[in-house]
């Protein structure tokens, strides 16, 4: 069976019914002691055998973080987080590469299976020797996976194929060891270590993440993909991802997230930095379905993420697409700094809040260069007691002649206990620039539901169909495999929200 078909099948299996990712893998972990202080930062850096400049950078970030406060401006509420009551480092002990899947910890394989990762990719992920050399079958574009399993990247796939093109796709830890110059040149240049409370925390204690470098003129031959998982109890997940597209390079990156079910809230504070040089193009797609908490608002992930792209080069382009269905709280503003002339930034977003979920998400488009263009399409869906806020900034500097922005914010309400809020900021300091903003708020109408049901669709299928229609402009931006998963997730997330 071709890998893609197998993936689709497993996705289908995995996405039928309620939250199916509520499992916990029982693998021996190596923990750092609970709490956060300079020693922990040193411990992490030492564990990862890092050069001194990186340790210094982490320590500067930690010092900055100590003087910072959590942002209070998002429209979300949650009890205070005790940052000393969490583990900041946990790594699977297994280190030596197994010879075949039989030797791999079966618990780990079970986790992969539940995630819907095909067997072949499981082998590669688990580090089975030689598994990465198997060519991708089927005529479709293969997907390379870098699985981050509790803070340490277990393995990367299709490495050899990418290496032939000169593409670097590896864990951040490997990149620090093998490509220190590239890491040093770009790390923290888009999101500085002092950027905000959560970014500073991440800079101090990040344990792993993905690193991508696409050399000049290279079009990456496959979608690059990362599965993020939070596994150990009370372990914060601090991913650090850095993607660099050199001049004329093109890459599409997929980020998928699932997490086991838990009662305590778990903190996830990732940082993603993208750099696009002249004529480079980066497409970054996210489907986030972390545990949202139960219907009473107990448990769930706190997702406080800083994602930012620098369109440094002329005619460079960055496109963010996100489908946010999970997490108890989402605080996330994938942004573009449009520095290069004629550079383009795009943000396509679907955010669902059901039960007690809260989302405060949007984007920032900072227009610095001439003829820069940006497009924002945001679809917020609120159900149950969910609160959904679009918060966006379009800033056009005096030098950004002829800059253009188009923003569309649509909200869909299901039921009468939820809320939708739109907070757009537009700061235009340039006479020749143009900005447009459109916003709508609507409900799923009774006549739409009845029409669908009269044609034989169940109530839930009808809601799914209508919601998918509402999100169509965003979903069509997703790569095929993701679009299928996303459509199912939209429906699952809204189960029980009507009637």
């Amino acid at each position: 069976m071709p890998a893609v078909e197998e993936t689709l099948d497993t996705v289908r299996d995995a996405t039928q019914g309620a939250y199916k990712w509520g499992f916990e893998t029982d693998i021996e972990m190596e923990f750092a002691p609970k709490g956060l202080n300079e020693d922990i930062v040193r411990f992490i850096s030492a564990k990862k055998n890092e050069p001194s400049w990186l340790l210094e950078w982490r320590l500067r970030a930690f010092q900055a973080w100590q003087g910072m406060e959590e942002p209070r401006w998002p429209a979300v509420t949650y009890p205070p987080i005790d940052y000393q009551d969490a583990y900041y480092y946990a790594a699977p002990k297994e280190k030596i590469g197994p010879k075949s899947l039989d030797e791999v910890d079966p618990e780990l394989l079970k986790s992969y299976a539940k995630l819907g990762i095909p067997l072949k990719e499981q082998a590669i992920l688990a580090g089975v020797e030689g598994a990465g050399d198997v060519p991708a079958d089927g005529g479709r574009m293969p997907v390379a996976v870098d699985a981050v399993f509790d803070s340490v990247s277990v393995a990367t796939t299709y490495k050899h194929r990418l290496e032939k093109e000169g593409i670097i796709f590896c864990s951040m830890s490997e990149a620090v060891q093998n490509h220190p110059d590239l890491v040093r040149k770009y790390l923290g240049t888009v999101v500085p270590h002092t950027d905000n409370f959560f970014a500073a925390l991440n800079s101090a204690v990040f344990t792993d993440g993905s690193f991508v470098y696409i050399p000049k003129g290279v079009r990456c031959p496959m979608e690059l993909s990362t599965y993020f998982r939070i596994n150990a109890k009370s372990t914060g997940q601090f991913e650090r991802t850095l993607i660099i597209a050199d001049e004329g390079a093109t890459v599409s990156y997929l980020e998928g997230c699932t997490a086991p079910q838990r009662d305590e809230n778990q903190l996830h504070a990732a940082v993603v930095e993208l750099v696009a040089l002249d004529d480079a193009s980066i497409k970054y797609s996210t489907v986030q379905n972390w545990y949202p908490g139960d219907e009473n608002g107990k448990g769930g992930i706190y997702n406080f993420v800083t994602k930012r792209a620098a369109c440094r080069g002329k005619r460079s382009k960055v496109s963010w697409t996100q489908v946010e269905t999970g997490s108890a709280i989402t605080w996330k503003y994938p942004s573009c700094i449009l520095q290069g002339e004629d550079s383009v930034g795009e943000f396509y977003s679907v955010a669902i809040t059901n039960n007690h979920q809260q989302a405060d998400t949007g984007t920032k488009m900072i227009h610095l260069g001439k003829n820069t263009r940006s497009t924002i399409v945001s679809k917020g869906i609120s159900a149950g007691k969910g609160q959904n806020t679009y918060r966006g900034l379009v800033r056009i500097s005096p030098k950004a002649a002829n800059a253009r922005n188009f923003t569309q914010c649509d909200s869909l309400l299901i039921g009468d206990l939820c809320g939708a809020h739109t907070v757009p900021y537009i700061e235009n300091r340039c006479m020749t620039a143009k900005t447009e903003h459109e916003a709508t708020t609507s409900r799923i109408a009774e006549d739409q539901l009845f029409y669908c049901r009269q044609r034989g669709l169940s109530q839930e299928d009808a809601v799914g169909l209508i919601v998918n229609g509402f999100c169509r402009e965003v979903l069509k931006e997703l790569p095929m495999e993701f679009a299928v998963e996303a459509q199912k997730l939209l429906q699952i997330s809204l189960e029980g929200s009507v009637g």
Partner: protein, 249 residues
């Protein structure tokens, strides 16, 4: 066979249907005519199970099955189809996707194999040709930006694809020009057969020139007050409702 017996229904606490009794044997087409406010649309929504149309008494059996016990989608699966007076727009939902989802939902319930995208496209194209519908209507959002005539033709296309046992056409002729009216009528006539019956609700005789009914019923103030052959429709056209109603009273 659709058997409606002494059906009473109210909307927002107000009685609208006050005891409708009607029998439509398989293979027959019946027309229900009546003045504004007689309860024609309420009858169609009550049969289809729309929320807000509360059944207060009576029974409805479709081939022996109790329709009133079923959810709207179960009624659809058991073979009841309602062509809407005002077809609803579903923005962003592709017409082809909608039609295939509906078809497969009904096939699933009936224990039949689902059709894949290719099979569906072939089927849809054949039906669309018969209804003189341009193929691009499959690609557009469900009823979004459709003209009045296109919406009604889309209803008939759905009926042709879903192959119901009984179709209720709720003033399908309203807002149609003569050409569109003919296409719609042809669509219904093409369905005629021993396993298909229809309840055609209309104000005017016009549609019944194209879809010749086996029986005509007059609905007034929530009751069937007169029944007859096709000639009853002609009389209504000539004399208006007043004459027929006086006679019934």
């Amino acid at each position: 066979m659709l058997r409606i017996e002494n059906l009473t229904a109210e909307v927002e606490g107000k009685p609208i249907l006050k005891g409708v009794t009607l029998e439509i044997p398989d293979g027959e087409i019946h027309a229900v005519m009546g003045p504004n406010g007689a309860g024609k649309s309420t009858l169609s929504y009550a049969l289809a199970g729309r929320e807000g149309y509360e059944i207060t008494g009576g029974s409805v059996l479709l081939n022996g099955q109790d329709l009133l016990e079923m959810e709207p989608e179960e009624r659809a699966a058991s073979g009841l189809f309602l062509a809407f007076q005002y077809p609803v727009e579903l923005p962003g939902v592709g017409n082809a996707n909608f039609l295939r989802t509906a078809l497969n939902a009904i096939r699933r319930t009936r224990g039949e194999a689902e059709v894949d995208a290719m099979q569906f496209l072939k089927l849809a194209r054949t039906r669309m040709k018969e209804l003189s519908m341009p193929e691009d209507m499959l690609k557009r959002g469900v009823n979004v930006g459709f003209s009045g005539g296109e919406k009604k033709r889309n209803e008939i296309l759905q009926m042709a694809l879903l192959q119901p046992k009984i179709a209720i056409l709720d003033e399908t002729d309203s807002g149609l020009d003569i050409d569109a009216l003919k296409i719609v009528a042809d669509g219904v006539n093409a369905m005629r057969g021993p396993d298909f019956s229809a309840l055609v609700i209309t104000h005017y005789q016009r549609l019944l020139n194209h879809i010749v009914p086996d029986r005509v019923h007059v609905l007034a103030d929530g009751r069937i007050v007169a029944s007859g052959g096709p000639e009853l429709a002609h009389r209504l056209e000539a004399e208006g409702y007043a004459g027929v109603l006086d006679e019934a009273a």
